[in-house]
């Protein structure tokens, strides 16, 4: 089973990288997810995956037990990865709204544009709420 899982992890990472190289930002974001799953599987493989006994310190047959540590690590990584995926989706949605287009080339071209001039300073006579305490 470890062989199958290893090959799957490798395939997922390969697919993830291939998707990261795509022009469409949607595929890039999905590629991050696929890559993340491949990595998670690989981390899980870091310990004994093939076990027949649950891992308790007082269990009789420790050699047959699964290693619980990689499971704990992957659990942490999955939760974090999920939060980051949600953020990436929010960025994707906003990019679609603002650029009307999610071609990665277009998006990076916008970041390279010369900086626009700054908006006018607010008139000092009309202080902005919540910004005055700083005088003290």
């Amino acid at each position: 089973m470890e062989i199958v899982a290893s090959v799957t992890a490798g395939l997922l990472v390969a697919i993830g990288i291939w998707m990261l190289l795509d022009r469409s930002l949607l595929r890039v974001v999905l590629g991050v997810v696929v890559l993340g799953n491949g990595v998670n599987l690989a981390v899980l493989l870091g310990g004994r995956l093939d076990g027949s006994v649950a891992a308790f310190a007082d269990s009789a047959d420790l050699a047959a037990a699964v290693n619980p540590l990689p499971q704990a690590l992957v659990l942490t990584a999955i939760v974090i990865g999920f939060a980051l995926f949600v953020f990436a989706l929010a960025v994707l949605k906003r990019s679609w709204e603002l650029h009307g287009n999610i071609e990665t080339d277009r998006i990076t071209a916008v970041a390279e544009e010369p900086a626009p001039d700054l908006p006018a300073e607010p008139v000092p006579a009309a202080p902005i709420a919540g910004q005055r305490e700083v005088r003290g």
């Binding site: 930002l25 890559l35 974090i80 990436a88 960025v91 990019s95 970041a111 300073e121």
Partner: protein, 497 residues
């Protein structure tokens, strides 16, 4: 003492929670944020005071003895990094409290900033590889939300670049951590160092460490994987890009220094590679800056080139070179954040960020010109400012190690840096404003920002004038790095307190 050990985590975390609770009152949030970052600074300075004696503080989370529990370790390098994090955090809060053109973004800024600081401090004090990954994610989540704060088309496109490349780097780190555990059976840095030193690990563990160093190199923006930095940093709100410029790449540099000195203490092929990477980073960064025409883009490329100096110190791996790298870290964080703050104020006074549309600042705001000159000259390495000593030590270390090319590149980079700084000086300060005198603006409510940049400029001068004591501390920190046995004993030898 145990309370002090976890204080770099608890103080920003508590401030974050309090800021969220008080979010209806922006005034209270500002005050809490200020108090929180001041408390972090004092905790950091107290830790420096404790660590200066040479003792390595180690604690085990939950009382689980190392290597099974999560270890927190503070040696001289960690302590000074926490202190400098507090100082830059305090300065950033002050600059953010100055009256801004867009009041809305100030509201969410403070809780996010402290969330970021939790991650940064955690990365500096952890003694566990997987825990380091978690702290990287904590600071990453904070930085994602901060870099996009304020919104807009340009900022969002910078965010896309920043988010995707940092996610990939973090996954690479996670994969490396998993493989390292699989190969060596441990994630505790001290135990790993012990296993590597005694040769009890298979060769595949070295491959995992190599992958990890690549991931940290992306975080630290080393050549050839620095592209994301100059594509995104200049787009964030000024206090935020200053904070990122000062702190974030340095977390990557810290992780590189920590792992290489612990796991591969003897000079080897990795040091050889790092030496060439350092030279390329210095040179390409500074040449990239020469092609830029906006203040913050120039400064972004200089971050890349300056990181090269720190890696040069790590690659040479002599005690003097490591001391130079530590000194450079301290000096660079202060100077770089300050230059970004000043660049932001200069942009607001002239109404533009493009150098062509700036000008006339020397006559309009001579105090700003002086405040710019101090960190700018320090960055270029003009005596007696802090940058001179940092560069001097590193060049001397390269010459001692007969690394002639590295020494030449380091000196050349200094000259190019001076050229870049004089470009900003000529265009933004000396040249008359293209729109005439009337185009220069009066900006009200900048006082807290001015306190912050004056204090950071004073620190730059102080580090330069008091280079002796600072260098003594850096050398002592380098001694600890060069002899990892002390670190291993502190973590594994003492029972859980």
């Amino acid at each position: 003492m145990k309370a002090l050990l976890v204080s770099p985590l608890l103080i920003p975390l508590a401030t974050l929670v309090l800021c969220l609770l008080a979010r209806r009152s922006p005034r209270l949030v500002g005050a809490l944020s200020l108090v929180g970052s001041a408390a972090l600074t004092s905790a950091g300075l107290a830790l420096v005071g404790l660590a200066a004696g040479g003792e390595i503080l180690a604690g085990q989370a939950g009382g689980w003895a190392a290597p099974y529990g999560i270890t927190l370790v503070i040696d001289r390098l960690s302590a000074v990094m926490v202190a400098i994090t507090g100082i830059v955090g305090l300065a950033t809060v002050l600059v953010a409290l100055a009256r801004d053109t867009d009041a809305a973004r100030g509201r969410d800024f403070h809780p996010l900033l402290h969330g970021l600081l939790v991650g940064v401090c955690g990365a500096f004090i952890t003694g566990d590889v997987f825990n380091l990954y978690v702290w990287f994610e904590v600071l990453l989540v904070g930085s994602f939300a901060l870099i996009v704060l304020g919104g807009g088309r340009r900022r969002l496109s910078g965010t896309v670049v920043y988010v995707v490349l940092n996610l990939v780097a973090t996954m690479m780190f996670l994969l490396a951590a998993g493989l390292l555990y699989g190969a060596s059976g441990s994630l505790n840095m001290a135990e790993l160092a012990h296993l590597f030193a005694s040769g009890e690990v298979p060769a595949t563990a070295n491959a995992a460490v190599g992958l990890m160093l690549v991931a940290f190199s992306i975080k630290a923006a080393l050549f050839p994987v620095f592209g994301w930095l100059p594509a995104s940093y200049h787009l964030a709100w000024t206090p935020i890009s200053a904070l990122f410029a000062g702190l974030l790449t340095k977390v990557g540099v810290y992780a590189l220094i920590r792992l290489v000195t612990l796991l591969w203490p003897d000079s080897g092929i990795a040091h050889e590679v790092l030496l060439w990477v350092a030279c390329a980073t210095m040179l390409i960064g500074v040449l990239g800056a020469a092609a830029q025409t906006e203040v913050r883009r120039i400064l972004s490329f200089h971050i890349v080139s300056q990181v090269g100096y720190m890696i040069l110190g790590l690659a040479l791996a002599t005690p003097l070179a490591l001391a130079g790298a530590v000194f450079y870290l301290i000096h660079h964080i202060v100077v770089k954040a300050n230059l970004f703050f000043i660049g932001g104020i200069a942009a607001r006074l002239t109404g533009a960020e493009r150098l062509a549309a700036m000008g006339g600042l020397y006559a309009h705001a001579p105090w700003l010109a002086i405040l710019f000159a101090i960190p700018a000259l320090s960055l270029a390495g003009i005596p007696p400012l802090s940058g001179f000593w940092a560069k001097f030590v590193l060049v001397k270390a390269s010459l001692d190690a007969s690394a002639w090319i590295a020494a030449t590149v380091a000196l050349l980079t200094g000259i190019f840096t001076l050229l870049s700084m004089s470009k900003i000086w000529n265009e933004a300060f000396l040249k008359p404003h293209p729109g005439g005198e009337g185009a220069l603006r009066r900006v009200a409510g900048l006082r807290p920002a001015l306190w912050a940049i004056s204090a950071l400029a004073a620190m730059t001068v102080a580090i330069g004038l008091l280079a002796g004591p600072v260098m003594d501390y850096a050398s002592a920190a380098a001694e600890q790095l060069a002899a990892p046995q002390g670190y291993i004993d502190a973590v594994l030898g003492t029972p859980a307190r």
